[in-house]
Structure formats: C-alpha cells, structure tokens
Amino acid sequence: MQVLNELEQEGLLSRYAIGGAMGATFYTEPFLTFDLDVFIVLPRTVAGLLTLAPLYDALRARGYTEENECVLIEGVPVQFLPAYNFLVEEALNQAREIVYEDVPARVLRSEHLIAIFLQTGRSKDRDRVRILREQAQLDMNFLADILRRHQLEEE
C-alpha cells in the first residue's frame, strides 16, 4: 500500500483503488486469490496518450520485477488495470478510503465491485456477486442506481 501511495504522490498514477478478489474480501469472507488487482487512473502524457510504461519503469527502478502480467511488489503480484470504461472510472472516483496496518489506502465500494463483476461476467465473478450480496452491507438504492446507469440491470 505504501508503494502505491508513493506512486500516486509522485504522479505516476493519478488515483488507485483495490478491486478484484482482494477488494471484495474487504467486505466478505476471504477469497482465495494469488494476485492483487489495482485499478488506476493514469496521468495523460503530453501527447495525450495513456501508457503504463512510466509506472513500470518506476517500479523496475525500485527493484520490483515483472511476472507475467503482474509486478511483484513486496512479495505480492500486483496487476495494474487502467480504468477502461465509465463504470471503472466512477468506481475509482468514489472508492472508499481505508487504513491498512497504519497505511492509508483505497478500496472500491462494494456496490461498484458488484457492478464490475456483473459486467465482467465470468463464473467466478458471479460467485463473488452472490457472496457480496450475502455478506456485504450494501446500499441497495445506490447499487440499483449504478446498475441502471450502466445498463447492468438485466445481468
């Protein structure tokens, strides 16, 4: 978390929040997962491009290595996922501030996690939706609004 905060402070990413199985685990029983999904907003380059290259360069300079699609940071494979649609951008903007072992961090709201899992639609994502609905304290009006605005009500 400290490394993510430093990357944000250095402007290598504009904003981050934890999502995926680890994000869901914030609200539910622990899920088995081997990587940490971190959704990010990337700063635009002068040419208006969005690229992960400066972020990866900075991590390499800190001694962290790439491993498949992840970067191994302090023993944890981290997958950086640039915000890829309006739903993820909104989720990042409205992410919850938490404190993990005295370090501030951000995690996606449970209602946004459900919407993202529904949009992704893999079988394991549907399992996560079911468990979030069973165990998380959801704002059902907020969830309904997200699903309506992002055309996910049928999911």
């Binding site: 029983e29 899920f31 088995l32 302090e74 023993g75 494979p77 938490i98 072992e101």
Partner: protein, 69 residues
Amino acid sequence: MDGVNPEVARIFAAKEGRRQTLARLPFPEKVRAIIKLQEMAATILRARGKSVRPWRIVGIDTDDSLGKS
C-alpha cells in the same frame, strides 16, 4: 430446511455462521487468512502443474491466522 436431517441442518447453519464471522474480521486478519489459503491451495495446484506462489509479506506470520475464533 425441508428434507434435511436436523443434525445436518445444524451443521449447515454453523458453517454459514462461520462464514459471516469471517466476513466481519478486520481486513489485516483477512489478508492473513488469504495467505494461509494460498499455502493450502499451492500444494494442490502445483501437483496439477500450475505455477503459483503464496505471498511473502514482511511482518505477516500466517502460522496463527486460521483456526482461532
């Protein structure tokens, strides 16, 4: 629960109660539990030919993370 032996129904209820208890754990405790799950699953997954590695986070000892209430 229709058609289920009362003893089995009690076990199911207890399992559900444990899941709800796990859901209410502090987040750092959940992280410890995930690492323990990774260690348990890694042996099985490696036997199936999958390359997985439990997290090694400085300062986190998973020896006492599960099995305590």
